[in-house]
């Protein structure tokens, strides 16, 4: 039984823990989640939204998360979903799930009566085939199935996934790329990349779709959850430019888009509803060389703390983000279970103290290079200034976009600026601090981290893990392994009686939108 709640910001609800505990232990009943607010609606609208990137490929093995998901998640169903308001894992195509004791086996039970757009049933075989294929095929999804040793269909509705060891992030992954279900009958055909046979609520209107530019999708009435999808068509226009999407919004070509805060005032209040989300991602300075292998200064806790002290987070929030967001020193989502508001006070803006620390550590005058990408442009002057304030020099080196990722992993740089969207509690810290985490290319670890992660990796129940995560969170904040700036927020403007309901979870799916009368 599910009751969605309005989640109060910044407060860890014991009730949330209870609910997630229920979820993990698999006691969820088979009933469908109710969308926030409305009852089953007969009004079906046309939703037209803007996305900044077009899906590379609709092949289940190649799916990329991010705004690309608007398109692919409408065509391909995922095993699990996340509740937009609370961010908790809720049933998707799978109505229930259960881990075995040591987390090496996950059993998923699918719903009845689901079908692909071709008419074939969405069953355990489909899930097995898709997952095994994604595991074998070089692509974006493969690495997230790294711990999977086998996937079997026990019966028509039951899938058993075996792991070589407990993977705490796996369950969350099932609500994004790795959880997509493709049609085994057609999955190896050429059409899969551009127009797959899908298990999701929409099919692609290939006549009207211009790949890379605008995607038009039409609702499937035979989708198992059709009555909860209040849109008869979905149009996704790829617009990289904020001004262009604002123009399109005002001209009525879109009825939902993110807008820059400062222009919200120009929208006609009669026509548009505004929803402000204060945290969708974290912007932070990732200190890659925490161990000080190449840059000894960065290996010194004092220097790292000094960097944290040098950043005037409130000014950044007000100046660069017009107040939409939250100043923070953590990487985890404020809507999640790990978040600790008190940690935000740990590094009050104090460049003087920072300068002292740097001098104490003996690294005054050190200079660091950092890749400059289009993400970092607006924040570069701030960071340069911050470093200068504490007696260090920061030099930005332009890196072409296609080399940005490899620049971070190359070992040529000790620092890297990122804006990382929230994934899930189980992933957010691991990504940056785990030994094999993407945000930890030098594989830094120490005794505390080793201990914490090995415990985390052997605790199957999420709520049992939470205290470990919290300890980890506090540890990394104390050690100042990274220097977060702010949580970046977003403002959605919607029209035509459509509203944006995403709050704790902002996975780009159609379920972020709802219809109000």
């Amino acid at each position: 039984m599910w009751n969605t709640r309005k989640h109060r910001r910044g407060v860890v609800l014991p009730a949330a823990m209870l609910i997630t505990a229920l979820a993990v232990s698999g006691c969820a009943a088979g009933s469908d989640p109710e969308p926030a607010g409305t009852s089953a609606t007969v009004v079906e609208k046309d939703l037209a939204i803007a996305a900044v990137s077009a899906p590379n490929s609709l092949d289940p093995a190649q799916l990329v998360d991010g705004q690309q998901m608007f398109v692919w998640s409408s065509i391909l169903d995922t095993l699990l979903r996340k509740d937009p308001a609370t961010g908790e894992i809720i049933p998707g195509a799978a109505e229930s799930w259960e881990y075995n004791e040591d987390g090496t086996q996950l059993t998923l039970v699918l719903r009845e009566g689901m079908s692909f757009s071709s008419g074939d049933p969405v069953n355990a075989d489909a899930v097995v085939a898709t997952m095994l294929r994604s595991r074998e095929t070089a692509g974006n999804v493969q690495s997230r199935l790294a711990s999977v040793t086998d996937v079997v269909a026990e019966d028509d509705r039951t899938v058993v996934v075996s792991f070589d060891g407990f993977d705490p992030q796996f369950l969350d992954n099932l609500s994004s790329g790795p959880g997509a279900i493709g049609d085994p009958a057609t999955i190896d055909e050429e059409r899969t990349a551009t127009d797959p046979v899908g298990s999701g609520p929409f099919t692609l209107d290939t006549e009207k779709t211009v790949p890379g530019s605008s995607y038009v999708l039409v609702k499937r009435d035979d989708y198992w959850d059709a009555e909860n999808v209040p849109f008869k068509t979905l149009t996704v226009k790829v617009l990289q430019d904020q001004t262009a999407s604002f123009n399109a919004l005002q001209a009525g070509e879109l009825n939902a888009a993110t807008v820059q805060t400062q222009v919200v005032g120009q929208l006609d209040k009669e026509k548009f509803s505004i929803k402000q989300n204060d945290a969708v991602a974290t912007s932070f300075l990732n200190i890659l060389d925490r161990g000080g292998e190449k840059w000894p200064a960065l290996g010194d806790e004092k220097v790292r703390q000094a960097i944290n002290l040098a950043i005037d987070r409130d000014a950044v929030l007000k100046g660069l983000y017009s107040g939409v967001g939250i100043a923070t020193t953590q990487l985890v989502s404020p809507f999640g279970a790990i978040y600790d508001e008190s940690l935000n006070d740990e590094y009050e803006y104090d460049p003087e103290k920072g300068r002292e620390l740097v001098e104490e550590a003996g690294y005054a005058g050190e200079s660091f290079q950092i890749p400059s990408t289009f993400l970092s442009t607006t924040v570069e002057p701030v960071l340069t200034q911050a470093f200068a304030d504490i007696g260090l020099t920061l030099e930005w080196v332009t890196v072409p976009p296609q080399q940005a990722q490899s620049a971070a992993r190359s070992g040529d740089y000790g620092l890297y600026f990122q804006i990382l969207g929230f994934n899930a509690d189980s992933a957010d810290l691991a990504t940056t601090f785990a030994l094999d985490g993407v945000g930890n290319p030098r594989g830094y670890t120490d005794d505390t981290l080793d201990r914490l992660f090995s415990e985390i990796d052997s605790t199957v129940a999420f709520d049992d893990r939470v205290p470990l995560y919290q300890e980890l969170n506090e540890y990394v904040a104390d050690q100042a392994f990274v220097a977060p700036l702010v949580y970046v927020g977003a403002v959605w403007a919607t029209a035509d009686g459509i509203s944006y309901v995403g709050e704790a979870n902002t996975l780009s799916t159609i379920r972020q939108f709802d219809v109000t009368e």
């Binding site: 493969q142 690495s143 990349a193 790949p211 226009k237 430019d241 262009a244 072409p400 296609q402 990722q405």
Partner: protein
């Protein structure tokens, strides 16, 4: 004549081969980065190496190039490493979109430039000043600024024209016209600023030639002299300008495509370059060179038609 055309096309193909070879050599330094991008952030170095081997990117560069070439001459330009869309048809599709903006813009540019140029060359005085003024405004006012104003007025306020996006002609001719209106206007203004001055210059030169005077002495009318004779002779060098303008417009179209979110050749090339989508870049380069060759060839043929001295026999 036919052999001339074939020779030129042949030369164009040779050039295309050379250009794509050089391009591929330059791109071959980034196989690693591309593999990383495909696999996403979670991939380990061995997986990356595995993908490189799987795609055949570890083979000697020349071998890879010839492999591509052999397929290319058969019409198979491979598929995008990211989207798996076939390169050839996609490039042509994108090219069609861009051409559907450039060609009307070029036609308008030529018409307006010729009218302005001829007018100001054969009238002089205040008409000339006005025409030069128009040209000047075209230079000073950036096309982008004008585009914004037009979008705000006609798309956002009046909703006569779309603010973004492109409707293919086949789907809805009227909508297609509306979707290209502002981009074409922007390109045309830039083009006219350039070309009108050239036409004017050519016409002035031409009108001072001896045979013009002789024609006058035979009693030919002014219209006949200006249009039938002077313009015809001035057209030949103006054609060269036009073909250069055409190629230049591709550059301008790139920016416009970005601003108006048009799925054109320029933005396709740009994104592919940023992403390092090697097969797409190769396809774009090859088509680009061939396009330039064809344009140059057409220009020369038109030149030959206009100017008997330049004809090849």
């Amino acid at each position: 004549m036919l052999s001339y055309i074939l020779r030129r096309l042949g030369a164009g193909i040779v050039l295309a081969i050379l250009v794509t070879l050089i391009t591929f050599l330059l791109l071959s330094t980034s196989f690693d980065d591309v593999a990383q991008s495909i696999l996403g952030t979670g991939a380990t170095p061995d997986v990356v190496a595995g993908l490189i081997e799987q795609k055949g990117w570890d083979r000697p560069v020349l071998v890879q190039y010839f492999d591509w070439l052999i397929h290319a001459v058969q019409g198979d330009f491979g598929v995008s490493v990211y989207t798996s869309l076939p390169v050839g048809p996609t490039v042509l599709q994108r090219l069609a979109v861009t051409l559907s903006i450039i060609v009307p813009a070029l036609i308008l540019t030529v018409i307006i430039s010729v009218v302005l140029g001829v007018w100001s060359a054969s009238r002089g005085g205040i008409v000339d000043r006005i025409a030069q003024g128009i040209s000047l405004i075209g230079y000073i006012v950036p096309g982008l600024l004008l585009a914004i104003v037009l979008v705000v007025v006609f798309a956002v306020q009046l909703k006569w024209l779309p603010a973004t996006g492109f409707t293919p002609f086949a789907e809805d001719p009227a909508a297609w016209v509306r979707s290209i209106t502002i981009p074409v206007i922007v390109l045309t203004i830039g083009g006219v600023a350039n070309m009108a001055a050239q036409v004017r210059g050519r016409m002035i030169d031409e009108l001072r030639r001896d045979y013009i005077r002789t024609l006058r002495t035979r009693g030919s009318s002014t219209t006949s002299i200006v249009i039938k004779h002077a313009l015809r002779n001035a057209a030949s060098p103006a054609l060269t300008v036009m073909s250069l303008e055409f190629i230049q417009m591709f550059g301008g179209a790139l920016i416009i495509e970005n601003v108006f979110a048009l799925p054109g050749y320029g933005s396709f090339a740009f994104n592919a370059s940023l992403q390092g989508d090697i097969p797409v870049i190769m396809g774009i380069t090859a088509f680009g060179v061939l396009l330039v060759t064809v344009v140059n060839l057409l220009t020369d043929l038109a030149n030959g038609w206009l100017n008997p001295k330049a004809r090849v026999h």
